[in-house]
């Protein structure tokens, strides 16, 4: 499964859920595939996708927060998994799109090739942990998991791609991303 296919599959299942997208290719694919006000695109601050999502989830326990993370991002701040496992926010749905490479810098390998991130999430105390590598299973699993209490960790195995195959940068300004998202949080969803 390619990243664009995986990201699109999940985005199409969302209604008004808030979504935090990690920097690099995940944000770019999400922006060019299915842009929505509820999408917060992180363009820098690598490693902080789950931290941002956790802050939103704790501040608004009535809103479901879906994290579109990457393996490089998760590896950069593994400690955040412990925080999520300890605080156990029920509205926290953490997805990690794992292609085993740093996609926006030339596909250098990440340690996720040797380390099982799902196992780490389980040890950290996530309530539900699953792994998927096909579009059909991904669609079925996300549909089910959106009804479950979190914290949830879903490891989505995808294939590495050449950079020319993937989407361009997010063209909204950081302040536009902020304002739209803040308005979307304010709306009842």
């Amino acid at each position: 499964m390619k990243r664009q296919e995986a990201v699109e599959t999940v985005l199409r299942l969302l209604d008004h859920e808030l979504a935090i997208h990690c920097n690099g290719m995940v944000s770019r694919e999400a922006f060019h595939t299915l842009d929505r006000p509820e999408n917060f695109y992180m363009i820098g601050s690598m490693g902080l996708t789950a931290s941002i999502g956790l802050g939103t989830a704790l501040a608004r326990p009535d809103r479901k927060v879906v994290i579109f993370d990457g393996d490089g991002n998760v590896l950069m701040n593994l400690g955040t998994l412990a925080e999520v496992g300890a605080l156990k926010p029920a509205n926290f749905f953490h997805m990690c799109f794992d292609n085993g490479v740093y996609g926006s810098t030339g596909n250098q390998p990440t340690l996720a090739r040797m380390v099982d991130l799902a196992l780490i999430a389980r040890s950290a105390g996530y309530r539900i942990v699953k792994t998927t590598d096909t579009k059909t299973v991904l669609e079925k699993t996300v549909r089910e998991l959106l009804q479950e209490r979190g914290p949830i960790f879903l490891l989505v195995k995808i294939v590495p791609e050449a950079e020319y195959e993937t989407a361009g940068r997010v063209t909204l300004s950081p302040e536009q991303i902020r304002d739209r998202f803040m308005k979307a949080v304010g709306r009842v969803g």
Partner: protein
């Protein structure tokens, strides 16, 4: 008054509307952290790193909260990428309560370099700051809140040893 009770400082923060607290503790800030923790479960969020606390503060701000992050000045080093590629470009305000270890060159060796450089680092990246003085805290808080509302950037209070008990 040149020393303030930590519990009083927490009350002042709350009076100014701050309602989301995360951080990594320091001995200078231990009274503030314990006052916050007495407020109830998850009132103060123990972050694993200072940039993680800043990430949480950003997420909370996006969801309508007024966040405070507590850290030792060593954590400014850890936080620089979060500040420069998240808060300062998305314009996400946050009150930083930073303990000033190594001030005046008097501290354990690991604090000396950052103790000397920390306020220059804040100036270089464009984070307004003031020294924490109990006597002028009212004015300084009003200043900090105004800067955060108008410019939407993080603002720091630098806390030296002995001013909070």
């Amino acid at each position: 008054m040149d020393v303030m009770k930590s519990s009083e400082f927490v009350e002042i923060l709350e009076k100014y509307g701050f309602n989301f607290f995360a951080g990594v503790p320091d001995s200078i800030l231990k009274g503030v952290v314990s006052s916050l923790m007495e407020r109830g479960e998850h009132y103060y969020l123990p972050a694993v790193r200072e940039d993680d606390a800043l990430g949480m503060a950003c997420g909370a701000y996006l969801a309508g909260r007024k966040p405070v992050v507590l850290m030792q000045n060593s954590g400014l080093g850890t936080s620089l990428n979060a500040l420069t590629s998240l808060h300062l470009i998305y314009k996400i305000p946050c009150l930083l309560i930073v303990s000033w270890r190594g001030y005046g060159g008097v501290d354990a060796p690991e604090h000396i370099v950052m103790g000397d450089a920390c306020t220059q680092i804040l100036e270089t990246v464009g984070i307004p700051y003031r020294d924490f003085y109990p006597d002028s805290l009212g004015q300084d808080m009003a200043w900090a809140v105004k800067v955060m509302e108008n410019e939407r950037v993080p603002v720091a209070f630098m806390v030296k040893k002995g001013v909070l008990q």
